[in-house]
């Protein structure tokens, strides 16, 4: 793969809200894969009920860091620990993090937390797996095919196809951060 193509890569995820049953397999797979400590999570399930009884509708969403294109966490990090890595994935370099929590306050999605070891932690899109050609742990374990991960800059990728063929939305577009987790509706 050429350096130019690699630089233009833009990892994104789609979450099919019509498929998700809220089984939390993604949450547990993430905890196991990334040794997330007890009492913390890098991803979570949100369930919203809308309407007026008896005409109700429910939406279940598997949520995580949105790896924003214009990430406020990266902008606000005073030590350079929060940074944009390959494919636009936002990561935290643990040994550079002083735990000042500016990134947590800056995150529109409250997707970060302070790890008991003192650094700020969050979803990494399982970049360590992706670099080996594997899918993120949550995507691999999802029993209903809710989650699709890939390079949104590649029009042939599964995630691009999903975004092209289905209606989608993002959480809190008003933040202006440019989130890269899209919810298919």
């Amino acid at each position: 793969m050429s350096a130019t193509k690699s630089a233009a890569k833009r990892y994104a995820m789609t979450v099919d809200t019509r498929q998700c049953v809220g089984c939390k397999a993604c949450v547990l797979a993430c905890k196991a894969e990334n040794a997330v400590p007890d009492g913390f999570c890098r991803q979570w399930i949100v369930e919203e009920v809308r309407g007026e009884f008896p005409k109700l509708s429910a939406e279940i969403r598997s949520e995580r860091c949105n790896h924003c294109t214009d990430a406020p966490c990266v902008k606000n990090c005073p030590t350079g620990a929060s940074h944009v890595n390959e494919g636009g994935v936002v990561l935290v370099t643990h040994h550079k993090c002083s735990g000042c929590k500016a990134c947590i306050a800056a995150c529109p999605y409250d997707a970060r937390f302070v790890h008991p070891e003192g650094y700020v932690d969050k979803c990494t899109f399982c970049l360590h797996r992706v670099q080996k050609g594997l899918s993120p742990a949550c995507v691999g374990v999802c029993p209903t095919g809710t989650l699709t991960f890939g390079d949104a800059s590649d029009p042939e990728s599964a995630v691009s196809t999903m975004l092209r063929e289905r209606r989608s939305k993002v959480n809190h577009p008003e933040s202006g951060a440019g989130p890269n987790v899209h919810f298919l509706v």
Partner: protein, 322 residues
């Protein structure tokens, strides 16, 4: 109708849920002391620039050193807030222009040499002789060099002190104001508001010291200007929210009828600003004796302003919008 009836989440991360509470008393203390020290720098230097002579009172001459002690206390609180305290030095291996915290870290370092020169230049002959006597032999030459700089470039140091004070005061507000994810902090007014509040609390602290009558009158008049500026900036902040669509209107509702209305208007606007301002005007018009409660109210109001804005801001995430 497709209104949201109920939202549940499986996330229960400490510090994050049910609503953000990562920053507590340590940051309130730091923001307060940072503003206070900013005010002392601006006022101490501006008083000398205005009068053209060094402060006469012993207390005012020593204020730059007291300011350095106070900012050290504030930095101590900031350090206590760090989740990884042993890695605090990481702030000084990097400069990130888009991060107000990075700017602040470097401003805090620059404050020390400027404050030291401001203080050394303010000392009278007796105080200098005492300091020379207490300085170990190896450092005497360095001390004389510093005295030389402090006296030789006095005007430059005074102007730099004002600039550093303004930078410190504004940065404490911008630190919060540049976080678009916290709706109540999302206002450019916070920078000047925290600066005006810092100048007012700095003046209040100086007014608690034994001062010459001329210095006291100047400080009271400057404090009145700072209080009026604060009131205008608070009004502009609320007006800015109220005229900026649905999200801003939710923000303003928190202070006008919402959960922070009573505490904000009673502790900050009335007791911290309007009552001291009225006292200053009445004292000046009727030549009444100075009441020590006036600076105490201003200091308490400045602390309350930061406490309320820090707490309210953390609770104002997009996910709580109706």
């Amino acid at each position: 109708m497709n209104e949201l009836l109920e939202a549940t989440t499986t996330r229960t991360n400490p510090g994050i849920d049910p609503s953000l509470h990562i920053w507590g008393w340590e940051i309130v203390v730091y923001l307060f002391l940072g503003g206070l020290v900013a005010g002392i720098f601006v006022l101490a230097a501006a008083l000398e620039l205005k009068s053209g002579e060094k402060p006469r009172g012993a207390a005012l001459r020593l204020m730059p050193f007291a300011a350095l002690a106070l900012i050290s206390l504030g930095m101590g609180a900031l350090w206590l807030d760090l989740a990884h305290r042993l890695w605090a030095w990481r702030f000084y291996l990097f400069f990130h222009a888009t991060s107000p915290m990075s700017w602040g870290a470097w401003i805090l370092v620059l404050i020390y040499p400027v404050g030291l020169l401001l203080g050394l230049g303010s000392l009278n002959d007796g105080q200098r002789a005492w300091l020379r006597g207490k300085t170990p032999g190896a450092l005497k030459r360095l001390l004389e060099t510093l005295f030389g700089w402090a006296d030789g470039a006095r005007r430059g140091i005074l102007v730099t002190s004002v600039a550093m004070g303004v930078a410190l005061g504004i940065y404490t507000g911008l630190l919060l104001g540049t976080m678009p994810s916290r709706i109540l902090w999302n206002s450019a007014v916070l920078g000047p508001l925290f600066l005006a509040s810092g100048i007012s609390t700095g003046a209040a602290l100086l007014l608690l010291l034994p001062l010459e009558e001329r210095e006291r009158k100047t400080l009271v008049s400057w404090d009145a200007v700072a209080i009026v500026a604060e009131l205008v900036l608070i009004a502009l902040m609320l007006l800015g929210f109220a005229t900026s669509g649905e999200v801003g209107q939710w923000a303003v509702s928190q202070f006008l009828g919402g959960p922070y209305t009573a505490v904000f208007f009673s502790c900050v606007v009335v007791l911290g600003l309007l009552v001291p301002l009225a006292m200053e005007i009445i004292e000046a018009k009727r030549h009444l004796p100075f009441a020590a409660i006036l600076p105490v109210l201003i200091l308490a109001g400045g602390l309350a302003l930061r406490w309320i804005l820090l707490t309210a801001g953390q609770h104002s995430a997009f996910r709580f919008l109706p």
